[in-house]
Amino acid sequence: MENKYRVLDKVTQQDDEEFMDIVEDKRCCSDFSFAFRTFSPPPYKGAPVCSTAELNRAVLESQYLRYEIKEVAVETGSSVEEVRDEVCRILREMSQNLQLRFIRLMAFTVRKVFKRIFSAIYVNMEGVNALQQAAQESPVILMPNHRSYVDFLVVSYILFSYDIPLPVIAAGIPLAGMKIVGEILRRSGAFFIRRAIRSDKLYWAVLSEYVRTIVRSGFAPLEFFVEGLRSRTLKSLPPKLGMMHMILEPFLKGEVYDVTLVPISISYDRVLEESLLAHELLGVPKPRESTTGLLKASKVLRENYGCMHVNFGRPLSVRQLCEGKLNRSQYNLIPRDLPQKPNAETEACGSWLAHMIVRIQEEGTLTSPWSLMACVLLQVPTAALTEEGLLFHELTEQTLWLRTLALDFGAHLSWPEKLSDSEVMSSTLALHRSVVYRKAGHVYLVRGDEPERKHPISPEEDMMRTAVAFLMMVSYRNQCLHVFVRPALLALAMSITKSTQRDELLTCFCFLQELFSNEFIFIPGRSSQDFDEACSLLKKCKAVHVSLWDVTVSDTGLAVLSFLQELLKPFIDSYQLMFRFLCEERDCVFTEKEFLLAVRTLAAKLISSGELHTYEALSSDVQKNVLSALRRLGAVTRIKTSENNEYKVNKSAVRRTGDMLAGRIPPQVVQAVPDARL
């Protein structure tokens, strides 16, 4: 049985794979004996074991860093020794210190915790076996999606269980700052990366040499999150490309025969950080990562978080993927140790690969019943949901309808097979009692903790209470948006253009993809394939008729189309709101902070007045995405990059974009400025 993905042309649907519960599996033996199991992974061929000190020395003494040190010394006017000391400092701060004892300690505690909070952790054995094989053949890059802090531990934990060499893991620097925990992570193989380092030449040099050395030596798999951050919205994030290029380079320069990418999709029934994330999106700052904070958060460990699925994707050979896309002889005329900017071709290939990995992660995730329910619940007016509630059987009916649609669209569901549908519904509701509750045949939205305060709560506070639950639900809806987004964009294009002509629809489809490319992940340069896919999926569920020139609604298709349009409506509404704000605002120049604050105030005002129906406009994520979308379309420009980002608006361009989105003028696809990001 081959595990295949649509995004790789040849690929179709992944067959139902066998998942095995690794927690259940191990219950028979004690945590202690598990932690002290003999661990003897077969090594990557020819790779000698490489100690931390050796790795760091290799990095420090590399030709590349020596060259960069000299350069930086000349530029900054300091001595080579000073710069070298700085490099040592950076390296000390960065470097991992993988030690088997700490892995054992980690395995012991993690297993205890996992057993308590998860009912099961399912892993696809076939993927694990393929990984085990691949790890012996070429350097392996593990690329999980990032939804929770738990992601950090779970992959290492699984690899430890199955005798696969333990990975070194790229982590954000804040984690290193945590007392004890930082050190434990370091010794479990984490290495730490500062944020926003593009401009820091020396840091960039150290990091890239560090990563390349790990890949070159192949002594351990490298794990990194291609999305760069934990996704606050549970949606996939546009990939960061810097790390991707660092990984490709040893292959492109011929220093390794091949590099194997293993996308990993981790899906949670319920995410530990759910309410924290919702608060963060509403502007409540994220608590600094600290050990005490972690201890305080230990109350989350008393709850049940359902199941977790870890789906190891088919190992992908970079060599095969890049064949015909790249000319490797471009490195023939310059010593490979010297820094060389990747050319346009390489940049594009890296970006394509990174986007594709994210898409494969998406396709590998399992959609939970709750995620489908969230889609249904969000189409009910919020006020109704808090006051009258939704009839339970209606929810069941619509969720089951949506289940069929999702299956038609090729989603993988984690729908428990042994239970009846109503049992599944009730147990799901029970698991998510932090968001919804069921009372007398109705389902209601939970409205935050009742503040134990004397004075009556203000309308703002009241709204925030709803908003938290709403945004949590939004997050779970986001988990399955990737299943629907392509057909939904087509449905949207049909309603915006009011046209049936294929080329007109395609133009609008491309415009929407461009506009929403921070919201949803599309592989660059594949718009027309995406469009075709959308057509064929809608055709498959009999919602449209597709001919060479036309796409028309079928008699039975309205339900599907209007559901899909409704699914994206919150985005349209939020975007239009912000466009309007930008056009009406007197100032043409503002900082990012000012923008977020003003938009939030406006949205809150409109929600309480009943003019705006979605709370999503309150989410800082959507707000930031609007800014980047407008920047990409050239309607907003950044004028100051330091400290506070300052922006300048081109009002007519914003208005035009809004008009295109509303279907008042025909959309044009603007040639987007390539996004320079880490």
């Binding site: 320069k253 011929g254 220093e255 025969y257 091949d258 000319n327 490797r328 002889s329 490195y331 023939n332 010593p335 490979r336 140790d337």
Partner: protein, 634 residues
């Protein structure tokens, strides 16, 4: 004093002949067939007497008298598995001749998954009826007859000159398949004969393909199938005299058809050598070396062909090109020798060459070093190159090739030697902890006066020791060099049992040597798997030359083709992929085999558009009617 030195020189000469020519014995009765048509227009004969014409030449006009028509080398020398299933090497020419090679069968079977029961014998004799009738240009033939230059249009003669030794060429011959071939073979005797031939060819629009030793591995000798004119193979083998030796300047003026072994032997008789020893030196000719930019294994002392030539005479459709003097270096615009070197027979025929010669070395010593890993071996070679103390030859074989060399050990006569061998193995693997599946060996050849050789040897072994190398004896070294002479014979043995293979080479900067070796070997294995080869291939390499800025790397690749319908096509696809991999890893298109027609497709990316244009314009000027129409290179 002088006579003393002379006699010692003669002694070393004899010693040397016994060492390098021991396995290159000249045939006992090769002269009978050679018909010397004395060149009427001979120039003033040199004062140095270089022996009678009818004596001492290896290559007769009728090559079929001593050489295989569908395999490598002499007819009497071949590997075979005898009735007991043991490998032996027939004949009496080589050190290995007449010996039993006990380990070869096991190595052969385990490496390739081959089986002695599954045979693929070659067509034994040439079926002349399968050969196309010659398209003759009657007027040309008539006029040629009047010059008295010998020629032939017998099938056998023509078939012999229709191919080099690429796998697909030999494979087709073994199956009795013969494609487009020269319509006639012609044997000029001297420079002036060539001038006449070229004039006639231009006059009558006949296509000329120069033929030297026939050892090409670049499809350079293949007749372009689209060629409609009469094709004449111009065989230089009878232009094989040393015309003079200049002892004051240490140069020799030699006709281009002489093959390597004859050149060395004849010079040795006068106490000199050129030191140019490509692996094919038994059969390849001086003219061929010039036309392909050949490289010899001892280039570290003597230089490659471009360093060795002082003067070249080439006959082109426009006339004769040569320099007016023999100055050791000139600043007279681009060196016209470099239009000739590597021209691969597309511009004309090289007829005479003045080459540097050296007094024969007093002392020669083989050696070998075992390294725990290939990586350390390469690091050692790099250091040797950095210190510029490379011996006459230094080569590093990888582990697979080390095992291969081991499998070629002839049966040892005494229990004592086998006991010693066992002890050595024990010392290296158990006592020193070398992994038998990782270790690799470097073979060395030192030359010079005795004292310097010993000093030099110590220097090299000291460097090797820094990289974990252990001296492993002269015997291993010598066997390593022997391997290069017999490997081509071994390919014929493989082809008797479903195994096909070939070698190809590249040159690459030092920092990429390890990467290119690993990646190309891995690519070969991967491609074989993808193309449906049922058994894992032999994919091995060695570093054969060191330079200041890089090295020459040789790859050997062979596989068992049972179960494949078109093995040659698979072979070619894999070789092509391997070449792509070489280029992607910063290797050159060729170090010394040349481009021919096999690697033409990469010329443009190798030398740039302008480069191709330059070469083209030279061709257009020199040979506007494409008389030298082998279509190599461009």
């Amino acid at each position: 004093m002088a006579s003393n030195r002379n006699s010692s020189r003669h002694q070393t000469a004899r010693h040397r002949i016994s060492v390098i020519a021991g396995h290159l014995q000249r045939p006992a009765d090769s002269n009978a067939a050679v018909l010397a048509v004395e060149c009427k227009a001979q120039e003033i004969r040199p004062t140095v007497k270089t022996g009678d014409r009818s004596e001492g030449r290896t290559v007769p006009r009728r090559r079929q008298e001593i050489m295989k028509w569908n395999g490598w080398g002499y007819s009497d020398s071949r590997f075979l598995f005898n009735k007991k299933g043991q490998a032996e090497f027939t004949g009496r020419r080589y050190r290995l001749s007449g010996m039993i090679i006990p380990n070869l069968k096991d190595w052969f079977e385990s490496t390739f998954g081959a089986n002695l029961q599954h045979k693929t014998p070659a067509t034994p004799i040439l079926n002349s009826s399968a050969v196309q009738r010659p398209t003759l240009n009657e007027v040309f033939v008539e006029e040629l007859k009047s010059t008295g230059i010998p020629f032939s249009h017998e099938a056998e003669d023509r078939v012999f000159r229709s191919h080099g030794h690429c796998l697909h060429e030999i494979f087709a011959l073994r199956e009795g398949k013969i494609g487009r071939l020269p319509d006639m073979v012609i044997w000029p005797n001297c420079h002036n004969d060539v001038v006449k031939i070229v004039e006639l060819a231009c006059k009558h629009n006949v296509c000329l393909i120069p033929y030297g030793g026939g050892t090409s591995v670049s499809s350079a000798l293949e007749c372009p199938p689209e060629e409609t004119r009469s094709i004449v193979s111009l065989d230089t083998s009878q232009m094989n005299r040393i015309l003079w030796i200049d002892e004051k300047n240490l140069t020799a003026h030699v006709e281009s058809g002489i093959v390597g072994q004859d050149l060395e032997r004849l010079l040795n008789e006068s106490g000199y050598c050129t030191g140019h020893e490509p692996d094919s030196m038994e059969f390849s000719s001086l003219g061929g070396w010039v036309a392909t930019r050949a490289s010899g294994m001892k280039k570290n002392i003597y230089g490659n062909i471009e360093d060795l030539v002082v003067h070249i005479k080439m006959v082109t459709p426009r006339g004769v090109i040569e320099k007016s003097c023999q100055g050791p270096r000139m600043s007279t615009g681009p060196d016209i020798h470099h239009f000739i070197l590597g021209s691969e027979g597309t511009l004309g025929v090289v007829t005479e060459v003045t080459m540097k010669i050296r007094p024969m070395p007093e002392y020669q010593k083989y050696g070998s070093v075992v390294f725990p890993s290939f990586e350390q071996g390469v690091a050692c070679l790099r250091e040797v190159a950095r210190q510029r103390c490379a011996p006459a030859s230094i080569r590093l074989m990888d582990n697979e090739q080390f095992k291969f060399g081991h499998a070629l050990k002839p049966q040892v006569s005494s229990i004592f030697t086998s006991f010693l061998d066992g002890l050595k193995t024990f010392y290296i693997t158990k006592f020193k902890g070398f992994d038998p599946n990782r270790l690799c060996v470097a073979t060395l050849l030192f030359e010079g006066d005795r004292e310097r050789v010993l000093q030099h040897e110590k220097q090299v072994y000291d460097i090797a020791a820094k990289f974990g190398g252990l001296a492993a004896g002269e015997d291993n070294g010598q066997r390593g060099y022997m391997l290069t002479f017999v490997i081509a014979y071994l390919r014929d043995l493989g082809m008797d049992y479903y195994v096909i293979g070939e070698s190809f080479e590249t040159s690459v900067p030092w920092d990429r040597v390890l990467d290119i070796c690993r990646n190309v070997k891995a690519r070969i294995i991967r491609e074989c798997k993808d193309k449906g080869v049922q058994f894992p291939p032999l994919s091995t390499c060695r570093v054969t030359q060191t330079y200041d800025a890089g090295a020459c790397v040789y790859f050997y690749f062979a596989f068992n083709y049972r179960g494949l319908s078109d093995p040659v096509h698979v072979y070619e696809q894999v070789e092509r992929a391997a070449r792509e991999e070489i280029l992607a890893n910063g290797g050159s298109l060729s170090h010394h085999h040349g481009v021919g027609k096999l690697r033409k497709e990469w010329m443009r990316e190798t030398v740039s558009n302008v480069g191709v244009g330059m070469l083209k314009s030279v061709k257009d000027y020199v040979d506007p009617n494409n008389i030298f129409g082998n279509r190599n290179l461009l």
